[in-house]
Symmetry: C2
Subunit: 317 residues, 2 copies
């Protein structure tokens, strides 16, 4: 089977996920064509996942397809963008039809979940890896940047942290857990839910935002640096799931939340007056600290005293 047939056969469903809202031309020509409504800008993000580095070589193809797109869509959420389309560059050691069918099904599931249409890509032979590029649209000037945090703002997160990092021993088959705990943690690893609706709701409200992919401390460092402010995080306010506490214990759970990556929850800064309104619609939002004058990220104990943070986020090199 050649690459053209492969793509046509297995990705037909994802291609048709969206009827055309902004997609003028999809797969099949030299380029895809996208249209933007007047007054909107295009948000673009590219992510690569490599077998043996970002996911286990032998992992389930359905779960991989689902997770790969969720990870990329989360960058759209972080900008407050409305999802539009994506391209997939898939490098495969061989054309295994069963694997492709499952992978395409996982991709399609998340594509529908996120309202993203597959508009193009490339299929090549080589060591297994995926590069997804996602496209969203956002009203001009309203994208959520990392650089707008203001002294006095609250530092918030979009829900419990650390589950995905905590799930790693389960993902790698190194430990077992009771079915309910295992299911809860593995779901957070394999099918993170990009906070797209929350991101859109934060437009015009949050002063800075990103999605937590490198770990809370490392990612807050990005906001602090881009905004030229200090972020103070109250350790006891960092939300942890019951499943993670039960599986990893309080101390390890905190380490997962602070330093583990792959949460794909939003972290954002918010003027205090806007919190109540937002929490009415999004009760999972938690205030974990505040923005002060200065630089860097500081972790505080319950008494407000600085404490030493554990080692930071994931680095590839």
């Amino acid at each position: 089977m050649n690459e053209f047939e492969l793509i046509r056969r297995y990705f037909a469903a994802a291609r048709c996920a969206q009827g055309g809202d902004g997609v003028v031309l999809g797969i099949g020509d030299d380029c895809a064509l996208l249209a933007l409504p007047a007054g909107e800008q295009l948000a673009v993000s590219t992510d690569t996942l490599v077998a043996g580095v970002h996911f286990p070589e032998s992992c389930d193809a359905f779960l991989l397809g689902q997770r790969a797109l969720a990870v990329s869509a989360s960058d759209l959420a972080a900008m407050g963008a409305t999802p539009l389309a994506f391209t997939l560059a898939l490098t495969l050691p061989s054309a295994n039809e069963a694997w492709l069918a499952e992978f395409a099904r996982g991709l399609q599931t998340m594509a529908q979940n996120c309202s993203l249409a597959l508009v193009g890509g490339d299929t090549t032979r080589g060591p297994l890896s995926l590069t997804l590029t996602v496209f969203g649209r956002v009203p001009s000037g309203q994208a959520l940047l990392r650089s707008g945090a203001q002294v006095g703002d609250l530092l918030c997160v979009g829900g419990e942290l650390g589950d995905a990092a905590g799930a790693l021993p389960l993902v790698l088959g190194q430990r077992e857990a009771a079915a309910d705990i295992s299911e809860a943690l593995l779901a957070r690893y394999w099918s993170p839910q990009p906070q797209l609706a929350l991101g859109q709701a934060l437009r015009g409200r949050a002063t800075a935002a990103l999605d937590i992919s490198d770990g809370l401390l490392a990612d807050c460092g990005h906001i602090a640096k881009a905004s030229q402010v200090a972020l103070k995080i109250e350790l006891e306010q960092v939300p942890l799931s019951a499943a993670l506490r039960a599986f990893a214990g309080e101390q390890q759970a905190r380490l997962c939340a602070l330093g583990g990556g792959d949460d794909y929850r939003l972290a954002f800064t918010l003027p205090p007056a806007l919190l109540a309104d937002l929490q009415a619609d999004w009760p999972e939002i938690r205030v974990i600290g505040r923005v002060q004058a200065g630089t860097g990220v500081e972790l505080l104990d319950a008494a407000g005293q600085p404490i030493e943070p554990p080692r930071g986020g994931y680095q590839h090199f």
Copy 2:
């Protein structure tokens, strides 16, 4: 060195290549932001190059950077799009600074050549491969598609074909050649010139177009299928360079032109009345055949009799 520093250090030049014509926000946030003038659409294309499959593992990093971007930019040319920006997903076995500096320099050279600004990407550890996604803009409804060829149109190409395929024994170090021949063929392999200006000139003139990446016969097959027409190619009209003829001989040179990939010249269909005007500006344009009713691609000898084509284009699987 972590991945953020890597990206900052080596790709700073390419990032700054363009001041902002359409680039609202470049590298450094969760997404890049692009703006489009009213009445224009965004053209998007993704290509992956894998070491050992699409280029020799040990090849020169400067040449690789240059070629990778040219290959992707050629898809913009094929749509008649004006170049805007690109993202780079770079997977590397290790962070070799000398290699990265040379690769970034090659990328930057082609980025300036094509007026493409680097706006984002990802750097990951793994077997060497690159995925580039390029963005261009095109007036709404004027993109050059593969599907518009009309019976009676001429079939044209944007210059001599086969040099890149002919250069492969030189690229792989399997053969040697006189300096002038070697230089001419290797230049066509390592720094193909995307026909961006020609593509833009074809807007409103060509009825169908693509860039030849899989080989002339295979790519003409794409036009024939998408346009539901037959393409008749006169073998003796297919333009071959003097360097390729001298290096490979007439017979092999024709095989390279018909079946070899990587030419990145445009092939397009054109109403006959528009040829003279176009050739006045683009004397390298050659008419190689015509569009007739029917299906598929047929090769004709000098007497107009059908002849058997050699085996078709490159397939990854």
